[in-house]
């Protein structure tokens, strides 16, 4: 039962001089892409280059929530496919990704929020994704810890309840995909930085590393918050991306208290209880562009204020650890997935903001198809970079974004 097989490759495989594809960034999206390239397209001369260790970026810093109750019909099917893939991947990778299907409750604190949720719910249901509107009493029945008082900053009007969602153990996804990809022959090179992308006549020819140039006809850059910077420095491609720090924290472990993922836009807070019992919580981003992963004093305090008002019993619980990651935000909160434009053979997958975890499985599959065939799958076409040049935003957020100089 417990073979001593490696999960992560012990040491790096030899860096070959040529690969069919080189994926820059050892996070979830590229590991998933590598897995599907090998599995569904028989392309296993693939290298994943990771400057640090795999899963060191957003993959290991998110709060593990998965769901498919997005807003638009362009987005929902992608997230639904991602959601459906967790049990499949668990089986195919033979690695328990610990998908805990507890459902998500998005709390609604105003008439306007109920209206916005109505659009999401109707769209989701119309596309075959389960989602319901609950009133305040039904909501409290599902989460007895909630404060139903009218005298709080944002009284609870109800919730959008999305039973298919839940949480997945994020590290397990990293390790499972890495193990699966490596078993199929993918080379995962940790502590190996991509220094540049070599091109000739508008086509990619290779990737520069400290150990020399790797020749390849395909490069996928998907390095989370660093992608926009890499694409600019390597190829002078400008991306409409702001990188902001997003923080999260956990409480000490408790016996089961929250049976669902609970989130609140008005309070800027979401919380779920991990299988270990910790309440993992986070929400809004630091409002200034920032490539550090530093936490701030104000944020943990804000988080406590919000949680204590929403769920007063949590006043008697203790925070024990906080951390931060990077969110690469696009103006319309939807990602950028594109390729062969402006450089043939260069693909990009970024701008996921804080949706990168929940989408990685399906995205990896489509990006693999994109790389293998050279043709953009229909599902990804709406996410092309050109939409920003054409002022055609995706509409993933209902609310008017309060534009400030920082975004």
């Amino acid at each position: 039962m417990f073979g001593a097989k490696h999960i992560l490759p012990k040491g790096n495989p030899p860096l070959e001089s040529a690969y069919d594809a080189v994926l820059i960034g050892g996070g979830l999206h590229n590991l998933a892409t590598a897995w599907f390239l090998a599995k569904e397209h028989n392309m296993n001369r693939v290298a994943v280059l990771e400057k640090n260790y795999i899963g060191y970026g957003g993959a290991g810093r998110n709060t593990a929530i998965v769901r498919a109750n997005q807003r638009t019909q362009k987005n929902i099917p992608l997230y639904k496919e991602a959601l459906d893939l967790w049990p499949v991947l668990t089986r195919e990778l033979d690695f328990n990704l610990m998908f805990y299907n507890c459902g998500n409750l998005n709390l609604l604190h105003s008439e306007a929020a109920v209206k916005a949720a109505r659009t999401n719910i109707a769209t989701a249901k119309f596309l075959g994704v389960e989602s319901h509107l609950l009133d305040a009493a039904e909501t409290a029945k599902r989460v007895p810890a909630l404060n139903l008082s009218q005298k709080i900053t944002h009284p609870i009007h109800g919730a959008m309840y999305h039973p298919p969602g839940g949480i997945v153990r994020h590290d397990a996804v990293v390790w499972g995909l890495a193990k699966g990809a490596a078993e199929k022959g993918v080379h995962i090179h940790q502590q190996t930085e991509a220094l540049g992308i070599a091109t000739k006549n508008g086509r990619v020819t290779g990737v520069k590393t400290p150990a020399g140039t790797i020749y390849t006809p395909r490069v996928l850059v998907s390095a989370g918050g660093y992608t926009a910077g890499l694409l600019y420095h390597m190829l002078k491609i400008k991306m409409p991306i702001s990188v902001l720090t997003i923080q999260a924290m956990v409480t000490q472990p408790l016996k089961p208290l929250l049976d669902h993922v609970v989130s609140s836009g008005a309070y800027h807070v979401y919380a779920n209880q991990t299988l270990k019992g910790e309440i993992a919580t986070g929400a809004h981003m630091d409002p200034w562009p920032n490539y550090t992963t530093q936490t701030t004093a104000g944020y943990i305090k804000h988080q406590a204020e919000a949680l204590v008002e929403l769920m007063p019993c949590l006043a008697g619980v203790k925070f024990m650890r906080s951390w931060a990651g990077l969110a690469d935000m696009t103006p319309d909160m939807a990602p950028i997935m594109d390729g062969n434009d402006p450089v043939e053979g260069v693909y990009m997958n970024c701008g996921w903001g804080y949706f990168g975890f929940k989408s990685c499985s399906a995205t990896g599959r489509y990006m693999a198809r994109f790389l293998a065939t050279g043709k953009c799958p229909d599902r990804l076409k709406p996410f092309a970079l050109a939409r920003f040049k054409n002022h055609r935003l995706m509409g993933e957020t209902a609310a008017l974004v309060n534009y400030t100089p920082d975004n």
Partner: protein
């Protein structure tokens, strides 16, 4: 248990008993006891059961390094009883055990460890797939430590404090106190934080001195009294530093004592300099069953006796690797604890005086030996000592094993400021690689052990900090630095890791039940560095936050990866420990949340509306009256505006004045329309767009003088507007001033066919339609001299006067109008009534009929965009491009076929015949009494916008096949010619 009562170091008051209840039995501690020391004195040895294996756990340390002594106190789970002062009547319960911690029915879990290797859950429980949902439920139940009731309410008082200081010294031991005094001598204002209830650090409980000096506890008392009487030094005891952030931001939490007006107080400060003098702890010794109740750190045993008067056992064995361990053994022996043997992993370099002392007391001393295992299920029965080369061993019976491998610096606070740590071969410590400006350290954190050295290093750090803050004392600092350099270094503690073996019950991390075997398994499976091992095994992720495992984990990794090397010499191969993350100590959310004030703005007539039964809703930072009836049916409010007259408090709208030579240029930049065409006395409706042409704000602009304008914004945008305009004019060097007058300006919208009748009663100004027509503005006074700026607008579609009034006059104006209107049926109306009224007129509310991607053209408001301005306004390029773009959501008016069917706002519009079947959605839709129809506004794809187009509405409630019919109709629905607002 009888306490030692005559010790000069005692911190409990044995004359002041404090009763408590534990497992329905009354016990008694003393004032000064922590809950754990009181329980220990009462004979409790098993405090809890461990997370995974349900192993019995006892008192191991006194500063909260592990979850061993976490219990439920007064209904609050996970209370660290070893650092929490005993309060009268405390109700104490075990947690994470079935029955009790002493007799836990889940104790058998300990024998199942073979089935729980590192990360076992990743490779089990998922086959067959149907197993996992069941298993996940079981895992959830088994995991977690304490339980909190959903209706639990925290009863304590929480306070906040934001003190100012030049220097914050973290750690009130000898080094910290010396630093504080040295800095205060140089004129600095100092804050000194100490986690324990008293100052003194490691000197506080030690009798011995160094050579001719006074005993350490007396040196500590002397320093403490000097520190406490210095006005420039503010001392915070029971205050643990919990966070350190960029630019010296320090956060800390004080646990209130019996005399404090708070239970917890959050402190936040940004001193110019920080001195970290948090000392060192003992590094746990790893051996078989190294966390059995009865095994504790030597320092813990010593403090139990010296501070609390408790002899921790009847018969003790010591296994140490540092002089303080020898000192503890000798001292406890002198206090009456029989010590059967003392092993020290060091073969040489012991303090000869201590070794002599042991010999004098005939305590067998084993240099080069260490504890290898303890026997006993619920406590220690015997210990096996072995020589470090493994050649010899000896089994000794005892009930207490005081064990530590050496020291580990309490470097966590320093690491928060300094970033990654690296192994220092000299001390065997992990220390920062770099120090940011203004951050200094002192004392035992550097491996100093001789009392004199500790004190001098404190002075050096205090003077360095003072010099950093500008004091002229670099020479003095250097003099002390040289003095310190000339003194002999202390004897280093051991770098011992562990005897070779499978390490099956050798616990590296107590909280998460992580053993040496797990670490080996993790390394074997490719997790080669502590940061990855932490994620795979959970070591260091528990409530103790790496307090037990932090130092040993990287040492073990090095030992596992370099098995052939001498186990005490792995220098150069030791990887960095895991990243330290705040809070350094678990902090109640209540303490962070503080007093919990709701931050909200009220308009000047908030109370007046409340008296009239207003139901308020939060809109951005404001509370606005949304309804004036409890059942939220506002038909009477609506009808009254249509037939009589109503008044709406619109004070929350943004109100700005912009003036100066380039004021017009700035307006031209941010407004889509041409602001140079504003006629005197006329009101111009205008919109702002972003670079995508999407509408972010609308309002009116008027010219109130030469280069002087007033404009309004929506409620939600008021906060951003100044920054928005500054940002978009940042390269122009234009000369203008911009003032946000929102809070100083109240607004009453007096609307309805009788509005003029009401207004004429309170002003002498000519407000007739001839003198003051629709679309104009005018300044005049209400009776009594209240100045108003009145705008004739028509948002709700009736004759209306929008009165801008200085906030201080609002209440008076409101009352005056209310009185004047009593004969005309005047009553207030709320935002929901306004919503219906303006909907009937087809007037848009941004965010309701628009979304983030909706541009000006999509809202059929292209008339607000001027393409021939000199200055290209923000968004112009996008709007020009969008004129050719047919695939956009566009605003239309809709009418439901069935006038009894009112679908909810947000319902979607669908067409199954197309690839993307969701073709739009409803912004706002209401039953209109004026029209006797259900009308609304919707955003829909261009192809469905022609008048008369049939639309299918799906509200998301029932099955997707359940649709309602609607038709695209022309807007406005009500009074399309606009006669009523021009009356």
């Amino acid at each position: 248990m009888k306490r030692l009562t005559s010790l000069p170091t005692l911190r409990v008051d044995v004359g002041r008993p404090v009763p408590f209840v534990y497992k329905n039995q009354t016990g008694r501690g003393f004032k000064g006891d922590t809950i754990a020391t009181a329980l220990y004195a009462a004979g409790v040895r098993i405090f809890s059961r461990s997370l995974k294996y349900h192993r019995p756990r006892g008192l191991f340390s006194l500063d909260g390094e592990s979850s061993n002594t976490m219990m439920t106190v007064n209904g609050v789970p996970n209370v660290r009883t070893e650092t929490t002062l005993l309060a009268e009547g405390a109700m104490i319960r075990d947690q994470n055990a079935i029955f009790t911690a002493r007799n836990d029915l889940l104790g058998f879990m300990d024998r199942l460890d073979r089935f729980m290797p590192a990360g076992f859950y990743y490779e089990t429980m998922h086959k067959p797939a149907s197993l996992w949902p069941v298993a996940a439920k079981m895992v959830r139940k088994a995991a977690g430590l304490g339980r909190i009731a959903p209706d639990f309410r925290f009863s304590g008082a929480c306070d906040e404090m934001y003190p100012a200081a030049d220097l914050c010294v973290i750690g009130g031991g000898p080094a910290g106190m010396e630093a504080a005094l040295a800095a205060a001598d140089q004129g600095l204002r100092v804050i000194l934080l100490e986690a324990r209830p008293w100052l003194g650090g490691s000197f506080d409980y030690r009798e011995r001195g160094s050579g001719e000096d006074a005993p350490l506890y007396r040196q500590a008392a002397d320093l403490a009294s000097r520190v406490s009487t210095r006005a420039a030094i503010r001392v915070f005891t029971r205050t643990a530093m919990v966070g350190g952030y960029s630019d010296n931001l320090v956060t800390a939490v004080t646990e209130g004592g019996p005399d404090d007006p708070f239970d917890y107080r959050y402190l936040e400060m940004r001193p110019r300099a920080v001195v970290v003098a948090t000392g060192s702890r003992e590094r746990p010794l790893i051996f078989e069953n190294n966390e059995r109740p009865g095994v504790m750190l030597p320092d813990c045993a010593l403090r139990l006796a010296r501070t609390y008067g408790i002899l921790a056992g009847r018969e003790a064995v010591f296994s140490v690797g540092h002089d303080l361990g020898l000192e503890a053994a000798l001292d406890l022996s002198e206090l009456g604890l029989p010590v059967r043997a003392v092993a020290d992993v060091r073969t040489k370099g012991h303090d000869p005086a201590l070794v002599r002392g042991l010999a004098d007391r005939r305590i067998p001393f084993y240099p080069g030996w260490a504890a290898a295992a303890v026997e006993g299920k619920k406590g220690v029965k015997s210990v096996r000592l072995a020589s470090c080369d493994g050649g010899q061993y000896r089994i000794l019976t005892c009930d207490l094993l005081a064990a530590a491998a050496g020291h580990t610096p309490a470097v966590e606070p320093l690491s928060l400021f300094c970033g990654p740590l690296a192994y220092d071969g000299q001390t065997g410590y992990f220390l920062p690689r770099t120090y940011p400006a203004g951050v200094f350290a002192a004392g035992r954190i550097y491996g100093l052990e001789a009392p004199q050295n500790i004190r001098i290093s404190g002075r050096v750090a205090g003077l360095d900090a003072a010099a950093f803050c500008g004091a002229d004392c670099r020479g003095a600092a250097d003099a002390h630095r040289n003095e310190l350099a000339a003194l002999p270094m202390g004897r280093p503690a051991s770098k011992w890791v562990a005897f070779p073996g499978p390490w099956r019950k050798h616990f590296v991390d107590f909280d998460e039940d992580v053993t040496g075997k797990h670490i080996r398994q993790a390394v074997g499976r490719g997790f080669g560095v502590p940061e990855l091992i932490k994620r795979f095994t959970a070591a260091g992720t528990g409530p103790g936050q790496g307090g037990i495992s932090g130092h040993n984990l990287p040492l073990l990794v090095a030992a596992i990866k370099n098995p052939s090397r001498d186990r005490t010499d792995i220098h150069g191969t030791v990887p960095a420990p895991t990243t330290v993350r705040p809070p350094l100590r678990p902090v109640f959310l209540a303490a962070y949340a503080g007093s919990g004030r709701e931050m909200v703005k009220r308009t000047p007539v908030h109370d007046a509306q409340a008296w009239e039964g207003a139901v308020f809703r939060r809109v951005g930072v404001w509370h606005r009256a949304r309804y004036f009836s409890a059942d939220l049916d506002v038909s009477e409010e609506v009808d009254n505006v249509r037939t009589n007259v109503g008044m709406l408090d619109a004070s929350t709208l943004g109100c700005f004045r912009i003036f100066g030579p380039d004021a017009l240029s700035a307006l031209q930049r941010v407004y889509a329309g041409d602001m140079s065409k504003i006629k005197d006395g006329r009101v111009k409706y205008a919109a702002m767009c972003n670079h995508d042409g999407c509408v972010i704000d609308d309002g009116v602009v008027i010219r109130i003088g030469e280069n002087d304008y007033m404009f309004t914004t929506s409620t939600g945008r008021a906060g951003e507007t100044v920054e928005w305009i500054r940002y978009h004019t940042r390269f122009d060097n234009w000369d203008f001033h911009l003032v946000n007058q929102t809070d100083g300006t109240g607004v009453i919208n007096l609307a309805g066919p009788r509005a003029r009748d009401v207004l004429e009663r309170v002003t002498d100004a000519d407000v007739s339609n001839q003198a003051f027509s629709f679309g104009c503005w005018k300044d005049f006074s209400l009776s009594g001299g209240i100045p108003v700026r009145c705008l004739r607008l028509g948002f709700v579609g009736e004759l209306s006067f929008e009165l801008n009034i200085p906030a201080s006059y609002m209440q008076a104006a409101w009352d005056m109008l209310r009185k004047a209107g009593s004969g005309f049926g005047l009553r207030p109306f709320g935002v929901e009534a306004q919503n219906i009224l303006r909907l009937e007129k087809g007037h848009v509310i941004l965010g309701q009929e628009s979304e983030q991607r909706t541009n000006l053209l999509d809202l059929n408001m292209g008339f607000l965009f001027s393409r021939d301005k000199d200055i290209r306004p923000v968004g112009a390029d996008a709007l020009l491009q969008a004129e050719k773009d047919a695939g956009r959501l566009t605003l239309v008016g809709i009418r439901m076929t069935d006038s009894s069917c009112v679908p909810p706002d947000g319902s979607i519009l669908v067409d199954d015949q197309v690839v993307d079947p969701v073709i739009g959605y409803v912004g706002t839709i209401r039953k209109s009494r004026a029209l006797d129809a259900v009308v609304g506004m919707a955003l829909v794809e261009r192809a469905w916008t022609a008048e008369g187009t049939r639309l299918a509405v799906y509200d998301g409630g029932g099955e997707p096949s359940e649709r309602h019919d609607a038709t695209v109709v022309r807007m406005p629905f009500y009074d399309p010619e606009g006669i009523r607002m021009r009356m």
